[in-house]
């Protein structure tokens, strides 16, 4: 129990569970299944972008990717436009989305490296360019996704949304990547001290480049799935994921200063972020009160989580 409590991610799960119980208690258990499935579905999207952001934040102070929402939008619009509702082109669409991610990731790191722009500015300017590209390709069209894909993203297997299962699979892969491979060690080393990592013979540029690439690809895949899930791409579909991707990483117990990250916390935090909003909606509070409550609850959770004893590995 004690070792469990010392895990940095446990608090986000405790928070999510209590909010879930509070909501269920209010409705008298009427919407348990619906609420849980919705929470899992929406959390899955946050998890996908959160994992990418987590890898970038692991790289240490100043590393952040603000181009996540624009990448989602562009990947969603371009791939949907290409597939044009034909189920035979689903994999082609996915490949196009991944391609969009690869391009954005490469350009992001090119700006950071070649022009020596701080990541926060580089990815922000990139996001404007990418968003403009999305506007240009979209031109206000609303194209339906292929039916098979729309079904997949909205249906469940064994009572669990397909999207959540997919996100779980990717989370496990991310965990393995972070904790069991040299790459995971290397980026954690870079996050703790870039000069020390360089002097230890770690290929710093290569690792940082791959990390920005990974983040952009995950954002692109998330955009592709979200566009299919919501029946078409919209120009503002990514906007809420800018802060969400950062918030779930931080609430999940990853060190903002880098070098120490964890994957499970992202799930707890993503579920929590969705459940808080739906709890306050269930209580029927006004928009202003709802936002204030959301802020207050997030602060409380962070305070509780940071009160834990320092967890040195």
């Amino acid at each position: 129990m004690k070792t469990l409590l010392s895990r940095p991610w446990i608090w986000s799960f405790i928070a999510a569970l209590s909010v879930w119980l509070a909501t269920i208690a209010f409705t008298g258990g009427a919407s348990t299944v619906g609420l849980s499935q919705a929470a899992l579905t929406f959390a899955a999207f946050s998890v996908l972008v959160g994992i990418g952001q987590m890898f970038v934040i692991t790289l240490g102070p100043g590393n952040i990717d603000l181009s996540v929402p624009a990448t989602m939008t562009l990947a969603g619009t371009v791939s949907l436009k290409y597939m044009d509702g034909q189920s035979g082109l689903i994999l082609h669409g996915l490949a196009i989305a991944v391609g969009v991610g690869v391009c954005v990731g490469m350009l992001n790191y090119a700006l950071i490296k070649a022009l020596r722009i701080p990541p926060i500015i580089a990815t922000l300017s990139m996001s404007f360019i990418v968003q403009s590209a999305a506007i240009w390709t979209n031109r206000g069209l609303r194209i339906k996704p292929p039916q098979a894909l729309a079904d997949f993203t909205t249906q469940t297997s064994f009572g669990i949304p397909n999207i959540a299962l997919l996100a779980l699979l990717i989370s496990v892969a991310a965990w393995v990547l972070l904790h069991r491979t040299p790459y995971g060690r290397w980026i954690a080393a870079i996050g703790q001290s870039l000069p020390a990592a360089r002097m230890a013979g770690i290929a710093v540029d290569g690792n940082r480049f791959v990390t920005y690439l990974l983040c952009a690809i995950l954002a692109a895949v998330c955009g592709y799935l979200l566009a299919c899930f919501s029946g078409g791409a919209a120009l503002n579909m990514g906007s809420e994921y800018l802060l969400m991707s950062i918030a779930v990483v931080v609430i999940g117990g990853t060190a903002v200063a880098g070098g120490n990250s964890n994957v499970p916390g992202i799930w707890g935090a993503s579920l929590f972020m969705f459940l808080v909003v739906s709890m306050l909606n269930t209580y029927g509070l006004g928009a202003g009160v709802r936002l204030m409550m959301t802020g207050a609850i997030i602060i409380t959770v962070i305070l509780l989580a940071s009160g834990r004893t320092a967890n040195l590995r």
């Binding site: 060690r185 020390a196 590995r313």
Partner: protein, 483 residues
């Protein structure tokens, strides 16, 4: 008995400190009188830094009392210590790099406020640097970050001796000469003698026993958190001091013969002066005054051969950092992870790090280089500075790189460990490894096969075999002529 002693500037009685399972101090009593220079020696982790922290008020012992001028000080803390004139120069440098030297002076001396403080601070710090290191050439208006590590240490020392209305009475110098070359170290020790002659008190911690023997009026030997020997100057010589510290007295071994000239494994042409070249199985020393381009050469060699974009299976070079805080350790990690950071490729199979291989590698080096810890999974910061340095050695030596670059790696490492590492370097060189070694210690240069002497960023002399001597190195570094 002799004349009654004046009351102690500071006296610690029966201090005990524990960090978890580790007994850092075990009932230590120490009194420091005016006009005394106490030499404090002992191995890494013997408790030297801990007793210093107790004396400067940074650490409250779980047991024990502190007296000053005959009165008991309770509570005792950093503020009280400073008001009693206790000053400390730390092994890990503590100036703010983004501020100027003048601004750092203002931080150190709180009573320097008010109009025109910059002028007064400049005068105070400049007077102090001038007194200790004449002809220092440091601009006190410039930021600390642009200074070399030796210059930073000079400023740090001058800061401790500076007087802004509250004169220093007891100055603690923890490895003050570790980044200074021979000339600067001599200036500092001369100043210590002057300060002591005028009634000041000094605690000098150093792994360079000659300095202690020449400077201290009383020598205190610590081991495992206790004082094991305490004698006046002259009561010890080099051998008996090493023996009191409890390490095998390995004596300096003669320089190795240079192997037959063979293909160079590393070459670099410098913008001026002689080109640099190192052969297989050679130990090449980089000598000269601190900050004259030795570290820059090492970094240039490293940058040219280390990967930037793609991890390589067979790295050409590996690096042992001297400035371990800045570019050595990963402070969130365990000892084991710190040690294996440079050889993860070797410890992986099919892209995954093999736990067992990693643990075995850690245990092997824990024994080989004697890392003092009960468990390699403890955090790296639980180790003393010298033991952290051993981990960095293990990190570099456990790679398969044929060339090891060392940037003054023995800073703060005790005598026993140094000799173990010297032996290891020799054995590895016999086996065909090349070492490029920058050091501020003459003794270490004499262990090299070949020495390049640096001056103003260029190689001005190349010494081999018997020509490697303190005399020749100093001559070349000051005159720039080949010996």
């Amino acid at each position: 008995m002799t004349l009654p002693m004046p009351p102690a500037v500071l006296e610690v009685v029966n201090a005990a400190v524990r960090f978890g399972e580790v007994r850092a101090l075990d009932g230590v009593s120490l009194s420091i009188h005016p006009g005394e220079c106490i030499g404090l020696v002992g191995h890494n982790g013997a408790g030297k830094s801990t007793i210093v922290s107790v004396i400067n008020g940074g650490l409250s012992p779980q047991q024990g009392e502190v007296f000053s001028d005959g009165t008991r000080l309770a509570p005792y803390g950093i503020g009280v210590a400073r008001s009693r004139g206790v000053r400390c120069v730390f092994q890990e440098l503590s100036l703010c790099p983004n501020l100027s030297i003048i601004e750092n002076t203002r931080i150190m001396h709180r009573n320097l406020g008010g109009f025109g403080w910059r002028k007064r601070a400049a005068a105070i710090i400049l007077a102090s640097i001038d007194a200790i290191f004449p002809d220092h050439g440091i601009d006190v208006g410039g930021p600390v970050g642009t200074l070399s590590i030796a210059q930073r240490q000079m400023v740090e020392i001058a800061m401790a001796f500076s007087d802004a209305g509250q004169p220093p009475r007891l100055v603690i110098l923890d490895e003050p000469t570790s980044s200074l070359d021979a000339g600067l170290a001599a200036q500092l020790l001369a100043h210590v003698r002057r300060f002591v002659a005028n009634g000041g008190a000094v605690i000098l911690i150093s792994h360079m026993l000659t300095e202690i023997l020449e400077t201290a009026s009383r020598i205190v030997v610590m081991k495992d958190g206790k004082i094991v020997a305490e004698r006046g100057a002259g009561g010890f010589d080099h051998a008996s001091l090493v023996e009191a510290m409890g390490s095998a007295a390995t004596h300096q071994t003669a320089a190795r013969r240079a192997p037959a000239a063979n293909q160079p494994v590393l070459e670099l042409t410098l913008p001026k002066g002689q080109p640099f070249r190192a052969c297989k199985g050679e130990v090449v020393g980089l000598a000269g005054l601190g900050g004259h381009g030795q570290t820059r050469l090492l970094l240039a060699l490293f940058d040219r051969h280390s990967p930037q974009w793609w991890p390589i299976r067979n790295p050409a070079v590996t690096f042992v950092a001297g400035d371990r805080r800045e570019n050595g350790i990963f402070d969130l990690w365990s000892i084991l992870k710190n040690m294996t950071a440079a050889s993860l490729g070797d410890l992986s199979r099919r892209g995954f790090v093999q736990d067992k291989a990693e643990i075995d590698r850690g245990d092997e080096w824990k024994v080989r280089i004697d890392i003092r810890t009960p468990d390699m999974n403890n955090p790296i910061l639980s180790l003393s500075g010298g033991n952290q340095q051993k981990v960095l050695f293990a990190r570099a030596l456990s790679t398969r790189a044929p060339v090891v670059l060392m940037d003054d790696p023995m800073r703060g490492v005790d005598v026993g460990t140094k000799h173990e590492v010297y032996g290891m370097i020799r054995a590895e060189a016999e086996a065909g490894r090349t070492f490029v070694w920058y050091s501020t210690e003459m003794e270490e240069m004499q262990l090299c096969d070949r020495v390049y002497v640096f001056r103003e960023g260029a190689i001005v002399a190349e010494l081999t075999g018997d020509a490697i001597s303190e005399h020749n190195i100093l001559r070349a570094s000051f005159e720039g002529e080949a010996a």
